[in-house]
Symmetry: C2
Subunit: 255 residues, 2 copies
Amino acid sequence: MTKQPKYRQVADALRREIDNGTYAPGSRLPSENDLQQRFDASRNTVRSGLSLLVSEGLITSSQGLGYEVKSHEVFALNATRFENLTFPQNGDAYSTDVTNAGRRPHQTFRVEMLPAPTDVAERLKVAVGTTAVLRFCHRYVDDVPWSTQATYYPSWLVDASPRLAEPGDIEEGTTRYLASRGIEQVGYFDEIAARMPTPEEARLLEIGGGVPVMLWTRTGYSADRPIRCTITTFRGDLNRMNYEIGDLSARSENA
Amino acid sequence: MTKQPKYRQVADALRREIDNGTYAPGSRLPSENDLQQRFDASRNTVRSGLSLLVSEGLITSSQGLGYEVKSHEVFALNATRFENLTFPQNGDAYSTDVTNAGRRPHQTFRVEMLPAPTDVAERLKVAVGTTAVLRFCHRYVDDVPWSTQATYYPSWLVDASPRLAEPGDIEEGTTRYLASRGIEQVGYFDEIAARMPTPEEARLLEIGGGVPVMLWTRTGYSADRPIRCTITTFRGDLNRMNYEIGDLSARSENA
DNA sequence: CTGCCCAACTTGTTGGTACAAGCTGATGCA
DNA sequence: TGCATCAGCTTGTACCAACAAGTTGGGCAG
């Protein structure tokens, strides 16, 4: 065990005390001044150690208040139930899920037409720069920013299903609306990635330091070709994605 | 637009130049000294800006070398094909996938018996503290640490399938071995989460700043009860998970 | 020519100082 | 009583200085 730099010793000691409950989630750490004395270190050194813990997502800092141990409460999202192929849900799956969990959903909504970004165009199998319809949701749970969801529809699909391009909600859900126009989604391809947020994402989701985002890209297919591409951006600290595959009757038995 | 602090201006300017290709992936940024002059700022201020970009995962720093723009190459892992229910693969799915991608797989392996951790015990529906068998893999791709995989089996299952507790690989794959002992996995439940790595995870996966980990927890079920719990930890910057659900015949057509 | 070593670059660590800015509770005035 | 203000705490930003430690390439000794 080689000698660790002092700022790392500070971080390690505090991390250990957070783990073992000396500082419980939601409680405040000693001030920088106190920690300077405890570790016989300069303020810069103490701040280096603390910022390490911030970037690990263990604590947050607020000017004038101090450092607080983060508490995580996660919200599980069932990706397979979310958009069931055999029983498409009525209305908005997100609102239903959140309400069932006893939380309060809230979302802002917007529709625009724009050239499809490169990655979306590839997934929709259209030429880069082709116009697409973007239906964009900014979602909150109990007034906490939760996720953004951007769904792109290729223009050929919009010609056949004009309500997609109209602002305002589609009451029965887009999956059902498309089915009523003869477009049936028979399969989807999901990609899940994680990275640190861009400044834009950090702003929209009000993410502090040390919190990654999860990117969920779902491409929906009819029997013929891709019909939609949905990119959902979650706060990594508040969300978890679930997939149920195969026969899970044993899962619900005798909890 | 209020005035931003200087260290943030430094970060924003460099981030913009990384985005627009002024500094390409793999290339080096100007030294701290150069940046001090360019932004008329002290070394500490420049370092604050740079460390912001490091924690965003955009650049890395090496003592004696400088700051380098990160290039990301991702490896896609197909979670649904990985452990196919109807056609369980022969041998090791990870080695097969990596080899097929033209990369070189390498893994270290270990087996131990230990009390099941709380979260694992819950998923396996056994009492906390019950002994379980852990089969642990540390996996590399082209000698780069890629993921760790910890699979826990409940002790009742090991009694019926003793080879699980023996060190050394199970050639035909554990799924097939279990099937040969009359234990058939008929469904699984996947949970995916993202967070910043613990110091231990950062060490095992050789993760620098600004790189989150993806946690993939798969609980496998027989018709009766849970039979295994696999927790895989990935580097978020190098991996992506895919799920294929439903009929995707339209996906492979006329690429 | 070969190989070693060191100068000169890079970032890493640690100390110091000063002032700005956000928050809270106590004080005191109306 | 009620409200405004301010003192005193907190973290945020910015500067300076010095030395440690990793890397590289050139020059010198053998």
